[in-house]
Symmetry: C2
């Protein structure tokens, strides 16, 4: 426990929950990193699609970004309302479930879970790719770096929410600050140069023009750019992580996140267009990221360039953290409805949902290992998940307002309706334009996960039905049970088991399996030692059942006997007493057979409800421990009664200490 | 079980033991392969030491082999007597233990176990090396081939003794037959050519002479040649594997093995000397084994050459089988005395000592993997083990005869004394000449294993002492126990656990841990539902104990409560009833918490002997299964009583089937 304290911090009481909550500003870094990081790869993704247009493509950067910003704003308005309507925290899952029904909710849940998992893998892998392009010597260790960052994220999140938020504040500020300065400087230069500033360092030459703009290409660029919107969902899922009043703080954090994001996106697009920056082919030797070229064009390759690039890298790596903040909460909510194992509801020692964090880490780890740390191919997939969730959430909000029919509801319906239509269309565009790029996988994973969770729910329901009482509690005066005691030989443990059996029942069957290695004199001992003791204590004589075992099995004959007994006594409870040696150290258990454990397991697994298993333990103590206990006893006794009396009492005491 | 039947053959009853025993001739192949195979590498090892002498070295082949044969004969006489004196099968371990004391016995046991384990690794690796030199394309798969042969051997041995013996008859005969024909032919040619036959194919030219013979070199050659004697011990360990009368059959088998071995060794040495064959440097490109050169010289590279080489290869591979036949038996004997875990005494479904076979396979597998399938370096080690065991055994027999003081004992004492002295000196020679070649490792492994087995024995003794009754069995009229029932909510399972508790005791404590996710109305339910039911049934009212859990733990508060209860009631047995859901499929258990299992484990591990654990199971049945059972019940009932009556009875019956 000490060790865990050191690692994860002391256990937090449930009542300390409020202290762990965050205000708007740390909330921005807890829930906003994912959104901000998309400013780094969204424009890049859109412009990469436009490469075939050459310099002509640059002029589409701003229109596409404005389109994305409009949808982003609509989504923002919608989630603001969601936060107010669901102050306990509700993302697409709750909204869709409550307003569109369980199935739509489950679909949103699946989409979200895929989105969050992919986001972790993609974020870490994108960050590590930046590190690797800066230091190519690290190339062979890509996967190792990815997994190390994943482990670090999991660790920070297991330590708890508040500390996570604080740890991520500096990189968030650095990123927003750097890009802000960059954009301001760029705009200032553009104005002073009457719209045609001289780049501090010329961008790479644009390739020759191959194509003319087409609707298909435009849509593809738009769909690619939409990845910039993923991560906006996070705040509304995590309302409960904010300080009182959570709704106000959450809305504030969301406003800050979205406005900063929109400013960054528009600023970058403006700079791209002003400095006529075209994307470079990813994977080619001349490759350079858009943000790198923009920074270079505005300020040259000075110290500021490297700081900005460092901030971008850090934010990309840490963007995965949003998933860590949110995925466990989503799982908790889903588990509460019985679509995921209940264990997702349990809060660990630091008040975080440990299992969610561990499952997310495991899933992302598997993805990183499968793709060997290079997850570019997964980017389309997680946009699909995000937009499906967005659309379901918006549609849910429309139904929500229609049900409420309050004043102002018409406006709300319209707002969410337009948002839903916009994200729905975007979803379709993303699916269609990226289907062959991998979006088809989503059509396999979503139904599979959907059916899996449905199956969990059905099973919980069945268990619940079988555990429920049909009426009120009914108890009857107890009937005598049958006690079965399997014994190999007579010793302290056997004597103890027999004594317990007499406490349970007057109808005792002692079962002895004849073995080739067992002491042959059990019957003798029974007749000459046990039976006299039974009659001395005026107890009912137990029945001795000797079982043959031609195939040298131990457990099977006992089981067969018990099944027969159970059939012959259809109304009685059968208590099987299993004497069991308990060793002081686990490795000593290799010195003994496992018949006790096997018998217990089989009885519990294969028996009926009428068979109960009574474990009678007998603890083997190490010599040193016995000596130590005797010494302590002696010290205690000699204080109270003086050593003389102790000697007289010692044997009895020692027996008590053991028995 | 069907699957195991197919794999390992049907289960054999203990009474079928006699049928599984072998006669002298199959006994030769079961216990003799190891000895025969040493004819292939013993002379080789001795002659390799003599390489520096050039052709002059050849003249020492016969003297050294005669020396080895004399010691071999002494060892043979000694083991013949051992077989007669210990008709239950006793190798060095039993002989040394009974006559020289437990510690000498344990030392012999350790030496034997090392010897057998190394023999498996060395034999398989030597065989595979032959295959690989014949087909160099297999070189990269050396380890895989070794492990495949190891697995095959383990499998054949798990199937049982008789089948093993039969499977190994043909290769044994082929080997002995080929070498016999070869030697006879060679002697015939030598006689007809007046001692100077013309080789059919000239052996490789001898290298230039570097050295003169020295005592040190002679001793080294002798020590190396002594590896030819390993494996002779096997028969005396396995006497019980022979048909009635086992002593006669075992002696016959031993006589056959040793006489064939001596003839082979002398024959090979004679041919080496006649054809002036010198060993080639192992690992050099010109390398060829002695047996290959001898065969070539006598018959040329015809079909007979290849058959003979094939037989050598087969026997080398299979020589490991002797260890498989014997190692488990030695372990059984050691385990009977408590120096190894008792599980080595258990005979599996095919009447073999499964655990011994598996442990041997695992150890040899680890050795093979560690040395990557090339275990030449281990050969000195296993000669050390073998000769230590020989010497202890002989010394033990000397003491045996001295104790008996029968007529003829003087002769026996002399015989074993000379044998012991001879093997003892050989042991010293082996140790000294091979110390730097790796024999020093034995001085680390032997004490480690020795102390380990001593520790096991001491632990068994301590457990035995603690389990033994100090006097006769004593029973007392049972006192009422305290029943503790941890409950989360009221349902069928809780009701069942309560009902069982009433059967156990009138003093029931129901323990409820308040959890953030648990239904809040437990107290209500208790007051309004449970207590009325208790009074309706005229039962004593259980005490409800509600425990707070600020840190969201479930098991810890219950444990603390039970420890307190145990302290406050120092004389009473406490029965903790643990209600437990039993799922129909193992993977469903992930849907439930493991509190029941954790609580049970901790109570058993950390509790005193006064705490017994009662598992109250509740089986969750799958819908289909319930339907099927209802259907079967309906069919059964309708046969007995007709369908009309069944309908009336069905609900009660169904309940019974479940409850």
């Amino acid at each position: 426990m000490k060790c865990l304290d050191l690692l994860l911090g002391r256990s937090l009481a449930s009542s300390e929950d409020k202290k762990e909550r965050v205000g708007a500003v740390p909330g921005v870094s807890v829930f906003g990193l994912d959104a901000f990081s998309s400013a780094a790869y969204g424009p890049e993704a859109a412009l990469t699609v436009l490469i075939p247009l050459g310099v002509a493509g640059v002029s589409f950067a701003l229109p596409i970004t404005i389109g994305i910003s409009v949808i982003l704003f609509l989504v923002y308005l919608s989630y603001r309302q969601t936060i107010a309507a669901y102050p306990n925290g509700a993302g697409s899952y709750t909204v869709a479930k409550e307003n569109l029904g369980d199935k739509a909710g489950l679909l949103a849940a699946v989409a979200l879970m895929i989105d969050y998992t992919l986001n972790v893998a993609v974020g870490i892998s994108a960050g590590v790719n930046q590190i690797v392009s800066a230091a190519p010597a690290l190339q062979p260790h890509t996967l190792l770096l990815c997994l190390a960052i994943l482990a670090a994220l999991a660790y920070v999140n297991l330590r708890g929410l508040r500390e996570t938020g604080l740890a991520f504040l500096p990189p968030t500020y650095l990123f927003v600050g750097c890009l802000g300065v960059l954009i301001a400087l760029g705009i200032f230069r553009a104005i002073t140069a009457a719209g045609h500033p001289q780049p501090a360092m010329a961008p790479a030459a644009s390739p020759a023009v191959h194509e003319q703009i087409s609707l298909w290409l435009f849509l593809k660029a738009f769909a690619a750019g939409c990845t910039a919107m993923t991560g906006v969902e996070a705040v509304s899922n995590g309302v409960q992580a904010f300080k009182e009043p959570p709704v106000a703080f959450a809305r504030k954090a969301l406003t800050m996140i979205v406005s900063v994001l929109i400013l960054l996106l528009l600023g970058v697009a403006f700079l791209v267009q002003t400095y006529k920056i075209t994307a470079t082919e990813p994977g080619s030797p001349q490759y350079q990221s858009i943000l790198s070229m923009v920074t270079q064009a505005v300020v040259g390759r000075g110290i500021f360039y490297y700081i900005t690039m460092g901030a971008v890298l850090l934010v990309l790596c840490l963007s995965a953290n949003t998933s860590f903040a949110d995925f466990p909460r989503v799982c908790r909510t889903i588990a509460q409805d019985g679509y995921l194992p209940y264990s997702f509801m349990v809060r660990g020692r630091r008040l975080v949902f440990t299992e969610g964090i561990l499952v997310l880490t495991a899933l992302a780890g598997v993805l990183l290992i499968c793709f060997n740390g290079v997850t570019d191919k997964l980017i389309p997939l997680f946009a699909v998940g995000a937009f499906l969730a967005f659309t379901l959430s918006q549609a849910g909000m429309v139904m929500h307002w229609r049900k409420k029919r309050k004043s102002g509801a018409v406006g709300s319906v319209a707002m969410n309706g337009i948002g839903g239509a916009a994200t729905g269309i975007t979803f379709l565009i993303v699916i269609v334009t990226k289907f062959t790029d991998g979006a088809w996988i989503v059509f396999l994973v979503i139904p599979a996960l959907y059916l899996f969770m449905l199956r969990i729910h059905r099973h919980y329901k069945m268990v619940g039905d079988q555990l429920a009482l049909s009426g009120s509690v009914e108890l009857t005066p107890p009937r005598q049970m049958i006690a079965v005691v399997p014994l190999v030989s007579m010793g302290s443990l056997a004597q103890r088991a027999l004594q317990i059996a007499f406490g349970l029942s007057g109808d005792i069957k002692v079962v002895h399996v004849e073995q080739e290695n067992s002491p042959p004199d059990f019957q003798n001992q029974w007749a000459h030692d046990v039976l006299p003791a039974v009659s001395r204590a005026h107890l009912a004589e137990p029945q001795l059942v000797t079982l043959a075992s031609p195939y040298r099995q131990v457990v099977t004959p006992i089981l067969s006997y018990i099944w027969r007994l159970e059939k012959e006594n259809p109304d009685q409870t059968i208590a099987v007493l299993i004497p069991q040696l308990i060793e002081s150290r686990w490795y000593y258990s290799f010195l003994h057979n496992r018949h006790a454990t096997i018998l217990r397991t089989l009885l519990l697994m294969k028996g009926l409800n009428r068979i109960v298993v009574v474990n009678v333990p007998w603890h083997i103590q190490e010599r040193e421990k016995i000596a130590q206990q005797a010494h302590e006893l002696w010290k205690r006794r000699s204080k109270i009664e003086g050593p003389a009396q102790f000697i007289r009492r010692e044997p009895a005491e020692r027996k008590d200490e053991r028995a």
